[in-house]
Symmetry: C2
Subunit: 373 residues, 2 copies
C-alpha cells in the first residue's frame, strides 16, 4: 500500500484530497493533528479524540526526552502503549523547542547542545540520535532535526542555517534507512529558509530531491504577519515534490488552514486550538469569540450554532462562561473538545469540497462568514 | 413512593442498606455524593460520573449564589439544565462556606450577613431565603442554613450557636412547606452541637422531632482527630430518628466512610476524592499512594490492581506519574475518575455486604488491607 495517495486535485487551486496509510490505519487528508506534546493532548481524553474522528496526533521528542525520558517510554512498549493511543503518532524532532525554549544552547555542525529546562543538565541532539530515539519510541512519522531560526532578513545567517538543516536532513535519512529496514516508520524532511525566497526555493528543491516520505514546511508562524506566511508558503509549495504529503508545521487558525489547503498543504498541527481553549476562546462559524464576555451571561445557545460536537450538544454559552469564570477544569475540557472538533470539521469539509469540486466556493463562503482573524 | 426505605439492617452494627427515591430516580444507600460546588464536579464530565454509576451530586448554594448568581441558573431552567446533569442534586445551604470562607460576617438572630469573596459586596442569608433559593434552582434535596462553629470546647458559645441553628431549622422547614406544596423537593435538618455530647444529644433529639425528610450530621471533620469524629458520630447517631436517611456532611476518606456506615450513616459527601486527585494522590485497596513517588517511574501496573475503572483499565502508574509531573490536566482527570470510582465501589460493596449479612467481616477486611489513614 502506498504511504500517500492523492484522490482528487482541485482544478482552481492547488488543494487536493488524499489518504495516508500506515500500520496504524488510514488518515484522510487534509488532516489536522492535535498536539500531544508530552504524551497527552491537553485537557482531553483519547476517547474524546476518537469520538471527534481524530486519527493522528503529535508527540514532541524534545519534551518526551526530558520528561519522562525515552527509556521510560521504551519500557512501556513505545509511545502508543505508554499513552494508550491506538492510532497514528507523528513525532516532532524537537528542533523548534531546542531553539525556542533552551536559552543556553550551542549549534555545532553535527548537532546542537542544550541545557534541560527542567534541571539544567546538558544534552546533545544530533540528526542521528533524534531519528533513532523517535524510532525507538515507535513514532509512525519521524521528523528530522532542523535548525529553526527566528524571524529575520539576514541572508548569510539564514543560508548557513538552511545548509546545516539540509546536511542534517541527509544524515537523518541515512540513519532512518539503516535502522528501519522494514520501513515501519516514515520520515519527513523539513524545508527551512526563513523569509528569503531564494533560500526557500533552494531548500524546497533540495528536500524534494531526497527520498523522504513527506515534506514539512517549517520556520513559518514564527511571529510574521499572516499574509507573509501565506506568501512564503505559496512560493515554497511551487518547488516541492507534490507527489508527497505536504505538512505545514505550526498552523492552527482556521483562515490560515483553509488558505494553506488551497496552496496544496495536506497536514497541519498546532497547539492553538487547545491553548486558546484554556484562555476561554472558541472558534465559531461566525468567528472567534471569548466566552468570558459578559454578553454570554444569560446566553442559552450553544457555542456555535453549526456545531454538533459533544460540547455544543450538551452545554450553553451561559454555562461555559460560568465554568471559565469559576476557573473550573471542565471549562478547558469542554472548550478543547469544541475547538478541536471545529478544526476537524473544517479540514473534513474542505476535503468533501475538494472531492465534490467545490473547494473555492466553500473556501470563500467560510472566510466570508468567519471573517478575518 | 416513600422517599427513603431501609431494605436491610446489619445485625452486628447500625449499618443499613436502603433506597432513596426522588423524581430524578432511585439512589441506593449507602451513597457517596461527589461535590460539584460550582455546578461542576472538578475535572470530570457528567458522562464519566454516569459511567461510574453516580446517581447524586452536590451543589453549593453559597458559591452558586455568588457566581453565576441564582438568576442565571433560574433562567437556564434550574441547576440540572444549567449543568446538564440528569440525575439527583443535593444542594448545601452554604452555611459552612459563609462561616469558613467569609472573613467578614455578622451573625444575627435572623440570619448572617457576609461579604462576597469575589467582589466584597454585602449579602444576607436567612433560613428562609436560603431555602427559597435552593428551591428556585430545582434542588432535589435542600439543606437548611446552619451555623458552623470551629473546633472548640466552649459550652455557652456552642449552645448558643446550636440553639440558633435549631431556630433556623424550624424557620427553614416552615418556608419549605409554604413554597413547595407539592413536595417536589426534600429538605434535611442539620445536627450541630460541636464536640460537647450534651449539646449534640439536644440537637439530635430536636432535629429528629421536626418533620424533615432526612437528617444531616454537621460540624464534624472540622479539624478534630478521626477517633473524635467517630466517637461523636456514634454518640449522636443514637439520638437520631433512624427511619430517616442520615447524612454525614464532609466525610470522604475510606476508613471514615466505612466506620460511619457501621454507625448507621446512609449518605456522604466530600471534596476529598477530587481534591487529592489534583495533588497526585490515589486511593488503592492497599492504602493511599502518591503517584509522584519515584518508585512508579517504570511501574506498568494499574493504580489499583483491584480496580476496574476507566483509568485503571487504560493507564499505568508510570504514565500517570509522568502526567502529574508534567502538570498535564489529564492527570487530574484520570486520578479524579479513579478516586471517585474507588469511593463508589467502597459504598457499593458495603451495601452488598449489608444485604448479604457480611458487613462486619467486609469492614475489617477492608480496614486491614487499606491500613490506617
Amino acid at each position: 500500500m502506498a504511504f500517500f495517495k492523492v484522490l482528487k486535485k482541485d482544478k482552481k487551486s492547488s488543494a487536493r484530497a488524499g489518504i495516508i496509510t500506515t500500520e496504524k490505519g488510514v488518515v484522510k487528508t487534509p488532516v489536522f493533528m492535535p498536539v500531544g506534546t508530552k504524551a497527552s493532548v491537553k485537557a482531553v481524553t483519547n476517547e474524546q479524540l476518537y469520538e471527534a474522528g481524530c486519527g493522528i496526533i503529535l508527540g514532541n521528542l524534545y519534551h518526551l526526552y526530558l520528561q519522562p525520558g525515552i527509556e521510560v517510554i521504551e519500557k512501556a512498549g513505545g509511545l502508543h502503549k505508554f499513552m494508550n493511543w491506538k492510532r497514528n503518532i507523528l513525532t516532532d524532532s524537537g528542533g523548534f523547542q531546542v531553539f525556542s525554549l533552551s536559552r543556553i544552547r550551542k549549534i555545532m555542525e553535527n548537532g546542537v547542545e542544550f541545557k534541560s529546562i527542567i534541571d539544567g543538565s546538558n544534552h546533545f541532539f544530533t540528526p542521528v540520535n533524534v531519528v533513532e530515539m523517535q524510532y525507538r519510541i515507535g513514532s509512525n512519522i519521524i521528523m528530522v532535526l532542523d535548525e529553526c531560526i527566528p524571524f529575520n532578513d539576514d541572508y548569510e545567517y539564514t543560508m548557513n542555517a538552511a545548509k546545516r538543516t539540509l546536511k542534517w536532513a541527509e544524515a537523518s535519512l541515512k540513519e532512518k534507512k539503516r535502522i528501519d529496514r522494514e520501513n515501519k516508520s516514515r520520515i519527513f524532511g523539513i524545508v527551512q529558509g526563513g523569509f528569503i525566497k531564494d533560500i526557500r526555493k533552494f531548500c524546497a528543491r533540495s528536500i524534494s530531491e531526497m527520498d523522504f516520505d513527506g515534506i514539512a514546511i517549517g520556520g513559518l508562524s514564527v511571529g510574521e504577519k499572516r499574509n507573509q506566511t501565506i506568501e512564503i508558503l505559496k512560493y515554497t509549495a511551487e518547488f516541492l515534490d507534490n507527489k508527497k504529503p505536504l505538512y505545514f508545521m505550526g498552523m492552527g487558525d482556521p483562515i490560515g488552514i483553509i488558505e494553506a489547503i488551497g496552496s496544496g498543504v495536506d497536514m497541519f498541527d498546532c497547539v492553538m486550538p487547545t491553548r486558546i481553549s484554556r484562555n476561554g476562546s472558541a472558534f465559531t462559524s461566525g468567528g472567534r469569540i471569548n466566552i468570558k464576555n459578559k454578553k454570554y451571561t444569560y446566553d442559552l445557545c450553544k457555542l456555535d450554532k453549526e456545531c454538533n460536537c459533544y460540547t455544543c450538544r450538551n452545554y450553553t454559552r451561559s454555562y461555559l462562561r460560568h465554568l471559565f469564570k469559576s476557573k473550573e477544569i471542565l471549562s478547558s475540557i469542554l472548550l478543547s473538545i469544541h475547538n478541536l472538533n471545529f478544526i476537524f470539521k473544517l479540514v473534513d469539509n474542505s476535503r468533501q469540497a475538494i472531492l465534490s469540486e467545490s473547494f473555492e466556493s466553500f473556501k470563500s463562503d467560510f472566510i466570508n462568514k468567519y471573517g478575518k482573524i
